[in-house]
Point group: C2
Chain length 198, copies 2
């Protein structure tokens, strides 16, 4: 990459980080180019899609979350590890308004520049869930895809002004639905049934 191109690339990223933080993932591409003092075509040359820009912007955070999941796979209590990681994912995603909508859209769109990151993240979470389920500490009737959906739903609620103030409570409610706290090998009353409704 030519020196001037590299300078542009980095400057665009710095400006985009500010603009996306302020105005969310749907911020005007034109606005980003304008504020970066760069032609609109230059922005699109470096980041052919909005998703490509977001992926580069969030790369460090994504990698950190994936690394954290790997570390937590050897934590002493699988359920605490899962909940802690879920919390980190929701918190990170909540930093940029509207980013979770792009992520959940990318998970099924193999052409999206965000696709790979999201799949990696989902897989990392799935491992933590499987481990917790194996210990009988998470409900067995869900999988990694469901976990990712629930994380996305929580992050989306955090994006909404009407729900954001209660985000932590909503997190605890959903976390409690995932974690069972009841090892499956424990003897239960004969009439015991999971908290389910028809």
């Amino acid at each position: 990459m030519r020196a001037d191109a590299k300078k542009n690339y980095e400057h665009i990223l710095a400006v985009a980080s500010v603009v996306v933080t302020q105005h969310g993932a749907d911020a005007s591409m034109r606005d980003i180019a304008r504020r970066a003092g760069v032609g609109l075509g230059t922005l699109y040359r470096h980041f052919p899609t909005r998703e490509a820009l977001l992926d580069t912007l969030l790369r460090a955070g994504f990698d950190e979350l994936t690394a954290k999941a790997c570390e937590l796979e050897t934590a002493s209590s699988p359920d605490d590890a899962l909940v802690s990681w879920l919390h980190d994912v929701v918190t990170f995603t909540g930093n940029y308004q509207g980013v979770v909508a792009a992520m959940i859209a990318a998970i099924e769109d193999t052409d999206s520049a965000l696709h790979a990151s999201c799949v990696t993240l989902r897989t990392a979470g799935a491992r933590l869930l499987t481990r917790t389920q194996a210990a009988g500490l998470a409900r067995s009737d869900m999988n990694g895809d469901d976990l990712f959906s629930l994380a996305a739903a929580l992050a989306w609620l955090g994006d909404q002004p009407s729900s954001a103030p209660r985000a932590e409570r909503l997190f605890r409610i959903i976390a409690s639905a995932i974690i069972t706290n009841r090892p499956s090998n424990l003897s239960l009353p004969a009439d015991f049934q999971m908290n389910q409704n028809p």
Copy 2:
């Protein structure tokens, strides 16, 4: 209202219903006017905001859901009533893509034409929740606002192609977090009686 105006009004609604069903709540207003064979100004005269159009479009459904909540307030099992109503809300909202985002935004925007409907709906749900909590069948650390947020989150997941296929499972997971089959509070009134499993 003049006869020609009334005819326009009703034709716009009919066309809008089709367009919003097809393209979601963010459908182009221009497109709606175009397909209705009406000037753009005529559309805005009858429905000054997108929310006003949506509210009129969804009015019948909103009223039905509120009425259903009132009926269910005398149902034999409060928990079943709550879950059944919640399911109806999520299903109805899911009929129009993106409508739930408009609703959750309207709940805090007193100027929105959707505000009143959403508040009414939330209040109706809150009553069902309170009744279930009074019977010791719903977790006590949540309120009607939380219930509305959870319903919105479920409806939003239903809007996403990656989650929609698992919508029912996700519903059951969250429903199970709300419903508690055993009272969590140990210090109950002396005359408290468990009214389950008759």
